[in-house]
Protein backbone atom coordinates (compact mmCIF):
# COMPACT_ATOMS: atom_id res chain seq x y z
CA UNK A 1 0.00 0.00 0.00
CA UNK A 2 1.31 3.40 -0.95
CA UNK A 3 1.33 5.61 2.10
CA UNK A 4 3.19 8.90 2.04
CA UNK A 5 1.72 10.18 5.28
CA UNK A 6 4.25 10.53 8.08
CA UNK A 7 3.47 11.11 11.73
CA UNK A 8 5.66 14.04 12.64
CA UNK A 9 7.38 17.08 11.21
CA UNK A 10 10.72 15.61 12.31
CA UNK A 11 10.03 12.48 10.27
CA UNK A 12 8.91 14.63 7.33
CA UNK A 13 12.25 16.44 7.32
CA UNK A 14 14.52 13.55 8.20
CA UNK A 15 17.69 13.42 6.14
CA UNK A 16 17.78 17.01 4.92
CA UNK A 17 21.45 17.79 4.34
CA UNK A 18 23.57 20.87 4.85
CA UNK A 19 24.06 22.73 1.58
CA UNK A 20 20.61 21.83 0.23
CA UNK A 21 18.65 24.03 -2.12
CA UNK A 22 15.17 24.39 -0.66
CA UNK A 23 12.05 25.59 -2.46
CA UNK A 24 9.51 27.10 -0.09
CA UNK A 25 5.95 27.54 -1.36
CA UNK A 26 3.41 30.20 -0.57
CA UNK A 27 2.67 33.75 -1.53
CA UNK A 28 2.38 35.88 1.54
CA UNK A 29 1.17 33.57 4.29
CA UNK A 30 -1.28 31.79 1.97
CA UNK A 31 0.03 28.40 0.99
CA UNK A 32 3.16 28.91 3.06
CA UNK A 33 4.33 25.73 4.84
CA UNK A 34 5.02 27.54 8.09
CA UNK A 35 5.16 24.45 10.28
CA UNK A 36 7.68 22.81 7.96
CA UNK A 37 9.79 25.98 8.04
CA UNK A 38 9.80 25.79 11.84
CA UNK A 39 10.70 22.14 11.45
CA UNK A 40 13.65 23.03 9.26
CA UNK A 41 14.85 25.44 11.95
CA UNK A 42 14.65 22.59 14.49
CA UNK A 43 16.21 20.12 12.09
CA UNK A 44 19.17 22.46 11.84
CA UNK A 45 20.45 21.99 8.27
CA UNK A 46 22.92 24.75 7.41
CA UNK A 47 24.42 26.45 4.39
CA UNK A 48 21.04 26.38 2.66
CA UNK A 49 20.00 28.10 -0.52
CA UNK A 50 16.35 28.98 -0.16
CA UNK A 51 14.06 29.82 -3.04
CA UNK A 52 10.79 31.59 -2.39
CA UNK A 53 8.95 34.75 -3.35
CA UNK A 54 9.59 36.87 -0.26
CA UNK A 55 12.49 37.11 2.15
CA UNK A 56 10.46 36.78 5.31
CA UNK A 57 9.08 39.23 7.79
CA UNK A 58 9.66 39.92 11.46
CA UNK A 59 11.58 37.27 13.32
CA UNK A 60 9.49 34.19 12.59
CA UNK A 61 9.45 31.60 9.84
CA UNK A 62 11.91 32.21 7.02
CA UNK A 63 13.27 35.28 8.81
CA UNK A 64 14.10 33.11 11.82
CA UNK A 65 15.71 30.51 9.56
CA UNK A 66 17.99 33.24 8.23
CA UNK A 67 18.48 34.74 11.68
CA UNK A 68 19.75 31.35 12.91
CA UNK A 69 22.48 31.49 10.27
CA UNK A 70 21.16 28.50 8.34
CA UNK A 71 20.86 30.32 5.02
CA UNK A 72 23.78 31.08 2.73
CA UNK A 73 21.78 32.42 -0.20
CA UNK A 74 18.25 33.44 -1.01
CA UNK A 75 16.72 33.41 -4.49
CA UNK A 76 13.54 35.49 -4.55
CA UNK A 77 11.62 38.21 -6.36
CA UNK A 78 10.63 40.44 -3.50
CA UNK A 79 13.00 40.70 -0.52
CA UNK A 80 11.03 43.61 0.89
CA UNK A 81 8.20 43.07 3.33
CA UNK A 82 6.47 44.92 6.13
CA UNK A 83 9.28 44.09 8.49
CA UNK A 84 12.33 42.89 6.55
CA UNK A 85 14.79 43.57 9.38
CA UNK A 86 16.49 40.16 9.48
CA UNK A 87 17.14 39.89 5.76
CA UNK A 88 18.22 43.49 5.38
CA UNK A 89 20.63 43.30 8.29
CA UNK A 90 22.25 40.11 7.05
CA UNK A 91 22.39 41.44 3.49
CA UNK A 92 24.01 44.72 4.52
CA UNK A 93 26.55 42.82 6.56
CA UNK A 94 27.34 40.59 3.60
CA UNK A 95 26.21 37.52 5.51
CA UNK A 96 23.64 36.41 2.98
CA UNK A 97 23.73 36.27 -0.78
CA UNK A 98 20.76 37.48 -2.83
CA UNK A 99 19.77 36.39 -6.32
CA UNK A 100 16.94 38.62 -7.38
CA UNK A 101 14.68 37.08 -10.05
CA UNK A 102 11.53 38.55 -11.60
CA UNK A 103 8.54 36.70 -10.17
CA UNK A 104 7.35 35.18 -13.43
CA UNK A 105 10.85 34.14 -14.39
CA UNK A 106 11.27 32.57 -10.95
CA UNK A 107 8.05 30.60 -11.46
CA UNK A 108 9.02 29.53 -14.98
CA UNK A 109 12.54 28.49 -13.93
CA UNK A 110 11.06 26.26 -11.25
CA UNK A 111 8.45 24.89 -13.64
CA UNK A 112 11.20 24.22 -16.21
CA UNK A 113 13.17 22.21 -13.66
CA UNK A 114 10.12 20.09 -12.97
CA UNK A 115 9.29 19.72 -16.65
CA UNK A 116 12.73 18.67 -17.89
CA UNK A 117 13.43 21.94 -19.69
CA UNK A 118 17.04 22.98 -18.94
CA UNK A 119 16.66 26.50 -20.35
CA UNK A 120 14.16 28.80 -22.03
CA UNK A 121 13.91 32.32 -23.37
CA UNK A 122 11.81 35.16 -21.98
CA UNK A 123 11.39 38.85 -22.79
CA UNK A 124 11.14 39.60 -19.07
CA UNK A 125 14.12 41.67 -17.87
CA UNK A 126 15.59 41.98 -21.39
CA UNK A 127 17.75 45.11 -21.46
CA UNK A 128 17.63 45.58 -17.67
CA UNK A 129 20.12 45.05 -14.84
CA UNK A 130 18.63 41.64 -14.11
CA UNK A 131 19.68 40.38 -17.55
CA UNK A 132 23.33 41.24 -16.93
CA UNK A 133 25.66 38.33 -17.50
CA UNK A 134 22.88 36.33 -19.11
CA UNK A 135 22.78 35.27 -22.73
CA UNK A 136 20.46 37.35 -24.89
CA UNK A 137 19.07 36.37 -28.23
CA UNK A 138 16.71 37.73 -30.86
CA UNK A 139 13.71 35.83 -32.09
CA UNK A 140 11.60 37.48 -34.79
CA UNK A 141 13.21 40.83 -34.14
CA UNK A 142 12.64 40.93 -30.39
CA UNK A 143 15.24 40.45 -27.66
CA UNK A 144 14.91 37.66 -25.12
CA UNK A 145 17.00 36.50 -22.17
CA UNK A 146 17.97 32.87 -21.68
CA UNK A 147 17.03 31.59 -18.24
CA UNK A 148 18.07 28.29 -16.68
CA UNK A 149 15.97 25.75 -14.82
CA UNK A 150 16.06 26.00 -11.02
CA UNK A 151 16.19 22.53 -9.50
CA UNK A 152 16.20 21.80 -5.80
CA UNK A 153 16.96 19.10 -3.26
CA UNK A 154 13.92 19.80 -1.13
CA UNK A 155 10.53 21.43 -1.64
CA UNK A 156 8.34 22.44 1.27
CA UNK A 157 4.75 22.97 0.17
CA UNK A 158 1.41 23.60 1.81
CA UNK A 159 -2.02 22.34 0.77
CA UNK A 160 -5.52 22.10 2.18
CA UNK A 161 -6.11 18.36 1.70
CA UNK A 162 -4.09 15.27 0.88
CA UNK A 163 -4.56 11.52 0.60
CA UNK A 164 -2.11 8.70 1.19
CA UNK A 165 -0.91 8.80 -2.43
CA UNK A 166 0.25 12.35 -1.73
CA UNK A 167 -2.36 13.96 -3.96
CA UNK A 168 -2.82 17.59 -2.94
CA UNK A 169 -5.82 19.91 -3.17
CA UNK A 170 -5.21 23.61 -2.71
CA UNK A 171 -7.58 26.16 -1.25
CA UNK A 172 -8.30 29.70 -2.45
CA UNK A 173 -5.16 31.39 -3.71
CA UNK A 174 -3.07 28.78 -1.92
CA UNK A 175 -1.69 27.05 -4.99
CA UNK A 176 0.62 29.84 -6.16
CA UNK A 177 4.21 28.48 -6.15
CA UNK A 178 3.32 25.13 -4.57
CA UNK A 179 2.45 22.97 -7.62
CA UNK A 180 5.60 23.89 -9.54
CA UNK A 181 7.83 23.59 -6.48
CA UNK A 182 6.43 20.13 -5.78
CA UNK A 183 7.62 19.14 -9.29
CA UNK A 184 11.11 20.54 -9.06
CA UNK A 185 12.72 18.89 -6.03
CA UNK A 186 14.28 15.53 -5.24
CA UNK A 187 12.27 15.40 -2.02
CA UNK A 188 8.89 17.09 -1.76
CA UNK A 189 7.29 17.41 1.65
CA UNK A 190 3.74 18.69 2.05
CA UNK A 191 2.08 20.20 5.11
CA UNK A 192 -1.69 19.79 4.93
CA UNK A 193 -4.69 20.72 6.98
CA UNK A 194 -6.76 17.62 6.22
CA UNK A 195 -6.09 14.01 5.33
CA UNK A 196 -8.77 12.37 3.18
CA UNK A 197 -9.42 8.75 2.26
CA UNK A 198 -8.06 7.65 -1.10
CA UNK A 199 -10.75 8.36 -3.69
CA UNK A 200 -12.35 11.18 -1.70
CA UNK A 201 -10.51 13.92 -3.57
CA UNK A 202 -12.11 14.85 -6.88
CA UNK A 203 -9.76 13.92 -9.75
CA UNK A 204 -10.20 17.36 -11.29
CA UNK A 205 -9.61 19.19 -7.99
CA UNK A 206 -6.21 17.64 -7.38
CA UNK A 207 -3.71 20.43 -8.01
CA UNK A 208 -0.62 18.30 -7.44
CA UNK A 209 -0.69 14.60 -8.30
CA UNK A 210 0.88 12.47 -5.59
CA UNK A 211 3.55 11.38 -8.04
CA UNK A 212 5.35 14.62 -7.14
CA UNK A 213 5.01 14.27 -3.37
CA UNK A 214 7.21 12.15 -1.11
CA UNK A 215 5.97 12.89 2.39
CA UNK A 216 2.79 14.40 3.81
CA UNK A 217 2.35 15.63 7.35
CA UNK A 218 -0.91 16.85 8.83
CA UNK A 219 -0.86 19.99 10.91
CA UNK A 220 -4.26 20.79 12.29
CA UNK A 221 -4.37 24.00 14.16
CA UNK A 222 -7.98 25.01 13.73
CA UNK A 223 -9.12 27.85 11.58
CA UNK A 224 -7.41 30.80 13.21
CA UNK A 225 -3.77 30.06 12.62
CA UNK A 226 -3.49 32.02 9.41
CA UNK A 227 -2.79 35.62 10.25
CA UNK A 228 -2.60 37.73 7.13
CA UNK A 229 -1.10 40.64 9.09
CA UNK A 230 2.04 38.57 9.52
CA UNK A 231 2.58 38.43 5.78
Amino acid sequence: MINKIVQSVAEALAGVKDGSTVLIGGFGSVGQPDVLIEGLIEQGAKDLTIVLNNAGSGRIGVAKLMDQGQVRKIICSFPRSKDPVVFETLYREGKIELELVPQGTLAERIRAAGAGIPAFFTATAAGTLLARGKESREFDGKTYVMERALKADLALVEAWEADRWGNLVYRGSGANFNPIMAMAAELTVAQVQHIRELGELHPHMIGTPGVYVNRVVQVDRGGDWLKPEQV
Partner: protein
Protein backbone atom coordinates in the same frame (compact mmCIF):
# COMPACT_ATOMS: atom_id res chain seq x y z
CA UNK B 1 -6.64 72.03 -9.76
CA UNK B 2 -4.43 68.91 -9.87
CA UNK B 3 -6.07 65.53 -9.35
CA UNK B 4 -5.73 63.93 -5.94
CA UNK B 5 -4.87 60.24 -5.77
CA UNK B 6 -8.47 59.10 -5.87
CA UNK B 7 -9.23 61.34 -8.80
CA UNK B 8 -6.18 59.99 -10.66
CA UNK B 9 -7.39 56.43 -10.14
CA UNK B 10 -10.92 57.43 -11.21
CA UNK B 11 -9.59 59.17 -14.32
CA UNK B 12 -7.73 56.03 -15.30
CA UNK B 13 -10.71 53.80 -14.48
CA UNK B 14 -12.82 55.87 -16.90
CA UNK B 15 -10.63 54.64 -19.74
CA UNK B 16 -10.94 50.91 -18.96
CA UNK B 17 -13.60 49.36 -21.18
CA UNK B 18 -15.82 46.45 -20.30
CA UNK B 19 -14.32 43.02 -20.88
CA UNK B 20 -10.67 43.83 -20.36
CA UNK B 21 -8.52 41.61 -18.18
CA UNK B 22 -6.57 44.00 -15.97
CA UNK B 23 -3.67 43.55 -13.58
CA UNK B 24 -3.24 46.31 -11.01
CA UNK B 25 0.11 46.86 -9.33
CA UNK B 26 0.58 47.41 -5.64
CA UNK B 27 -0.23 50.84 -4.20
CA UNK B 28 -2.09 53.49 -6.15
CA UNK B 29 -2.85 51.15 -9.08
CA UNK B 30 -4.92 48.96 -6.73
CA UNK B 31 -7.22 51.95 -6.12
CA UNK B 32 -8.34 51.85 -9.75
CA UNK B 33 -10.63 48.88 -9.05
CA UNK B 34 -12.71 51.00 -6.65
CA UNK B 35 -13.59 53.36 -9.48
CA UNK B 36 -14.83 50.89 -12.07
CA UNK B 37 -18.61 50.81 -11.68
CA UNK B 38 -20.01 47.34 -10.89
CA UNK B 39 -22.15 47.56 -14.03
CA UNK B 40 -19.00 47.53 -16.17
CA UNK B 41 -17.50 44.03 -16.12
CA UNK B 42 -13.73 44.15 -15.90
CA UNK B 43 -11.73 41.06 -14.96
CA UNK B 44 -9.08 41.83 -12.39
CA UNK B 45 -6.19 39.41 -12.40
CA UNK B 46 -3.73 39.05 -9.57
CA UNK B 47 -0.34 37.48 -10.28
CA UNK B 48 -0.70 35.06 -7.37
CA UNK B 49 -3.22 33.23 -9.50
CA UNK B 50 -6.59 34.87 -8.99
CA UNK B 51 -8.53 35.67 -12.16
CA UNK B 52 -11.62 37.72 -11.37
CA UNK B 53 -11.22 39.55 -8.06
CA UNK B 54 -14.24 41.18 -6.47
CA UNK B 55 -14.43 44.12 -4.05
CA UNK B 56 -12.68 44.08 -0.66
CA UNK B 57 -14.42 41.80 1.86
CA UNK B 58 -16.79 43.22 4.43
CA UNK B 59 -15.57 43.08 7.99
CA UNK B 60 -16.11 39.66 9.51
CA UNK B 61 -16.39 38.03 6.08
CA UNK B 62 -12.68 37.80 5.28
CA UNK B 63 -11.37 34.51 3.92
CA UNK B 64 -7.72 34.25 5.00
CA UNK B 65 -6.98 32.02 1.97
CA UNK B 66 -7.86 34.75 -0.50
CA UNK B 67 -5.31 37.48 -1.03
CA UNK B 68 -4.10 39.63 -3.91
CA UNK B 69 -0.56 40.42 -5.04
CA UNK B 70 -0.38 43.16 -2.42
CA UNK B 71 -1.28 40.55 0.22
CA UNK B 72 -4.57 42.27 0.98
CA UNK B 73 -7.62 40.14 1.67
CA UNK B 74 -9.95 40.02 -1.31
CA UNK B 75 -13.20 38.47 -2.53
CA UNK B 76 -13.95 36.63 -5.75
CA UNK B 77 -16.19 37.92 -8.50
CA UNK B 78 -18.69 35.53 -10.04
CA UNK B 79 -16.80 33.79 -12.85
CA UNK B 80 -13.49 33.84 -10.98
CA UNK B 81 -10.94 31.07 -11.32
CA UNK B 82 -7.61 30.09 -9.79
CA UNK B 83 -4.32 29.08 -11.35
CA UNK B 84 -0.84 28.51 -9.94
CA UNK B 85 2.09 30.86 -10.42
CA UNK B 86 3.42 29.24 -13.60
CA UNK B 87 0.05 29.55 -15.31
CA UNK B 88 -0.56 33.01 -13.91
CA UNK B 89 2.68 34.32 -15.38
CA UNK B 90 2.09 32.37 -18.58
CA UNK B 91 -1.03 34.53 -18.85
CA UNK B 92 1.00 37.67 -18.15
CA UNK B 93 4.08 36.86 -20.25
CA UNK B 94 2.00 35.44 -23.07
CA UNK B 95 0.22 38.72 -23.76
CA UNK B 96 -3.20 37.80 -22.39
CA UNK B 97 -3.52 40.72 -19.96
CA UNK B 98 -5.25 43.60 -21.76
CA UNK B 99 -3.94 46.19 -19.37
CA UNK B 100 -1.44 46.42 -16.58
CA UNK B 101 -1.37 49.48 -14.32
CA UNK B 102 1.86 50.13 -12.44
CA UNK B 103 3.35 52.91 -10.38
CA UNK B 104 6.56 54.51 -11.59
CA UNK B 105 9.71 56.31 -10.54
CA UNK B 106 10.36 57.53 -14.08
CA UNK B 107 8.82 57.17 -17.52
CA UNK B 108 10.84 58.14 -20.60
CA UNK B 109 9.56 59.42 -23.94
CA UNK B 110 10.59 56.17 -25.61
CA UNK B 111 8.28 54.30 -23.24
CA UNK B 112 10.99 53.04 -20.90
CA UNK B 113 9.85 52.50 -17.33
CA UNK B 114 11.87 52.61 -14.12
CA UNK B 115 9.93 51.60 -11.05
CA UNK B 116 11.84 49.06 -9.00
CA UNK B 117 15.24 50.37 -7.91
CA UNK B 118 16.69 53.81 -7.41
CA UNK B 119 20.29 52.85 -8.02
CA UNK B 120 22.39 49.93 -9.14
CA UNK B 121 23.41 49.46 -5.53
CA UNK B 122 20.06 49.47 -3.77
CA UNK B 123 20.00 47.50 -0.59
CA UNK B 124 18.04 44.47 -1.67
CA UNK B 125 15.86 45.91 -4.39
CA UNK B 126 12.52 44.18 -4.85
CA UNK B 127 11.25 43.57 -8.36
CA UNK B 128 8.28 41.24 -7.81
CA UNK B 129 6.27 40.77 -10.97
CA UNK B 130 6.86 44.25 -12.41
CA UNK B 131 9.32 43.18 -15.12
CA UNK B 132 7.08 40.32 -16.24
CA UNK B 133 4.10 42.63 -16.45
CA UNK B 134 6.09 45.32 -18.28
CA UNK B 135 7.31 42.78 -20.83
CA UNK B 136 4.09 40.85 -21.23
CA UNK B 137 0.94 42.94 -20.87
CA UNK B 138 -0.77 44.16 -24.04
CA UNK B 139 -0.88 47.69 -22.62
CA UNK B 140 0.96 49.26 -19.73
CA UNK B 141 -0.39 52.41 -18.14
CA UNK B 142 1.56 54.10 -15.38
CA UNK B 143 -0.15 56.04 -12.61
CA UNK B 144 2.07 58.34 -10.55
CA UNK B 145 2.61 61.88 -9.32
CA UNK B 146 3.92 64.11 -12.08
CA UNK B 147 7.04 65.04 -10.07
CA UNK B 148 8.93 63.79 -7.05
CA UNK B 149 8.17 65.25 -3.63
CA UNK B 150 11.01 67.70 -4.09
CA UNK B 151 9.71 68.77 -7.49
CA UNK B 152 11.98 66.89 -9.92
CA UNK B 153 10.30 65.60 -13.10
CA UNK B 154 9.42 61.90 -13.26
CA UNK B 155 8.49 62.20 -16.91
CA UNK B 156 11.79 62.44 -18.72
CA UNK B 157 13.67 62.09 -21.97
CA UNK B 158 15.69 59.13 -20.68
CA UNK B 159 15.34 57.23 -17.42
CA UNK B 160 18.17 57.64 -14.94
CA UNK B 161 17.11 54.82 -12.65
CA UNK B 162 17.53 51.12 -13.52
CA UNK B 163 14.88 50.07 -16.02
CA UNK B 164 11.93 47.78 -15.36
CA UNK B 165 11.19 47.42 -19.04
CA UNK B 166 12.11 48.99 -22.36
CA UNK B 167 9.59 50.80 -24.56
CA UNK B 168 6.72 49.29 -22.61
CA UNK B 169 4.64 52.24 -21.34
CA UNK B 170 1.66 53.27 -23.46
CA UNK B 171 0.13 55.95 -21.26
CA UNK B 172 0.81 57.90 -18.06
CA UNK B 173 -1.80 59.21 -15.64
CA UNK B 174 -0.50 61.87 -13.26
CA UNK B 175 -1.99 64.43 -10.93
CA UNK B 176 -1.60 66.98 -13.74
CA UNK B 177 -2.25 65.21 -17.01
CA UNK B 178 -2.85 62.12 -19.06
CA UNK B 179 -0.06 61.52 -21.58
CA UNK B 180 0.14 59.00 -24.38
CA UNK B 181 3.52 57.58 -25.30
CA UNK B 182 3.62 57.54 -29.09
CA UNK B 183 6.34 55.63 -30.86
CA UNK B 184 8.70 57.87 -32.78
CA UNK B 185 7.14 60.97 -31.28
CA UNK B 186 7.20 60.82 -27.48
CA UNK B 187 4.68 62.21 -25.01
CA UNK B 188 1.39 63.43 -26.45
CA UNK B 189 -1.02 65.22 -24.14
CA UNK B 190 -4.34 63.44 -24.03
CA UNK B 191 -5.95 65.32 -21.18
CA UNK B 192 -5.16 67.87 -18.50
CA UNK B 193 -6.40 68.03 -14.93
CA UNK B 194 -9.13 70.68 -14.53
CA UNK B 195 -7.65 74.17 -14.48
CA UNK B 196 -4.13 72.98 -15.23
CA UNK B 197 -2.46 74.56 -18.26
CA UNK B 198 -0.20 72.89 -20.79
CA UNK B 199 2.55 75.38 -19.94
CA UNK B 200 2.38 74.44 -16.27
CA UNK B 201 2.63 70.71 -17.08
CA UNK B 202 5.47 71.28 -19.55
CA UNK B 203 7.38 73.22 -16.88
CA UNK B 204 7.19 70.20 -14.58
CA UNK B 205 8.13 67.68 -17.28
CA UNK B 206 11.63 66.61 -18.29
CA UNK B 207 10.67 65.88 -21.89
CA UNK B 208 8.89 67.71 -24.69
CA UNK B 209 5.11 67.43 -24.60
CA UNK B 210 3.33 67.20 -27.91
CA UNK B 211 -0.28 67.99 -28.61
CA UNK B 212 -2.44 65.93 -30.94
Amino acid sequence: MPFNRDQMAARLADDVPEGWCVNLGIGMPTMVANHVPPTREVIFQSENGVIGMGPAPKEGQEDPWLINAGKQLITLAKGASFVGHADSFAMIRGGHIDLCVLGGFEVAENGDLANWATSENDTAPAVGGAMDLAAGAKRLWVIMEHTTKDGRPKIVERCGYPLTGLACVNRVYTNLAVLDVVEGKGFVVRDLAPGVTLEEVQAKTGATLHTQ
